[in-house]
Symmetry: C2
Subunit: 211 residues, 2 copies
Amino acid sequence: MGDKTLSKELIARLPRYFRYLDDYMNVGIKKVSSGELSHKMNVTASQIRHDLGHFTVSGQQGYGYNVKELYEEIKRVLGLNDEKKVIIVGAGNIGKALISHRMFRNRGFKLIGVFDIAEMAEISGHRVYPISKLPEFVQEYKPDIAILSVPSQEASIVAKELISLGIKALLNFCYVDLDVPDDVIVENVHLRDNLMVLAYKYDNLIKKKKK
Amino acid sequence: MGDKTLSKELIARLPRYFRYLDDYMNVGIKKVSSGELSHKMNVTASQIRHDLGHFTVSGQQGYGYNVKELYEEIKRVLGLNDEKKVIIVGAGNIGKALISHRMFRNRGFKLIGVFDIAEMAEISGHRVYPISKLPEFVQEYKPDIAILSVPSQEASIVAKELISLGIKALLNFCYVDLDVPDDVIVENVHLRDNLMVLAYKYDNLIKKKKK
């Protein structure tokens, strides 16, 4: 199938489908209906059927989707069949928390290196390399993804170095939007932005109540 | 103005506008054009003009927007004029990293309490309260926002308790989607989902290159 046809919204929903299907597998559920998925995902059942229509899986009216088949298909589409090699650059508070994050406990992503400007002891079994070793390391181990968790004022320069070394995918925890070439992908995690959006919605909720 | 009319997309962009305007203020820039903002925000200048048309600020063709005026207006719309009181529930790796996160260093959000099931020492100057003190604390200090960073298997039960105590806004770092009443707002930060979306895009980039 042509994965290219997936909308941004569907791409954003794929990890949630994957998560629920993983849960179903873990408790031994073999079939799931669009109605059940609709409830879990908080989208309409017709949206679910439309979403899953993009994948080559069998779903029958009144019978449901084959959980394992759908799980394998979404896993394939998400590119999780080939384990991605990840490095963390910046072992401050956030970087340290990420080293032992559950995202590296399942298949799919393998943390292969941690870098920082400061010399420091091993963290959760991971040796922290000086950032000066990046060129050598990237050349030898060819990481797929770099997580950027350096201080924000150093983000641009470190991102540039990573890109010049050939890294094409960045998960950016720094509080700046990176200016990158077209063939480099950035996903931003801006926690303060999340908090602001929450504050906005909260304020509007309170205002509505007062009316 | 009626803040209700803002689209989800614009709400999601507001923190970025706020961030850039803050940057401009800090370096003493007084006027900014839709063109400059367009470049920064990576949306079209006409989108910028449409976005900012929702706010009561003066923008003149060829002259630009008044940075301070726009900053104050977006700050007001985001609800940042009233400082929000935040608690962190769960002082594991992520919770610990959040305590000293920059989101609490600026105006707008004040961390007033940290809770955990385990007894532990002060973290970055914050005493960690046992979770059993939550009811008393919430009643006395009336936090606006709770950050949920407990282990995922405890997320639902802790969220239920927070909601029963009257908390209406949750920033959820647990790897589950919470089932909450209609008058409670949740913003999710699912880091593994971000990583999966990045992996998906990366794989498609690589495939495209191979063609």
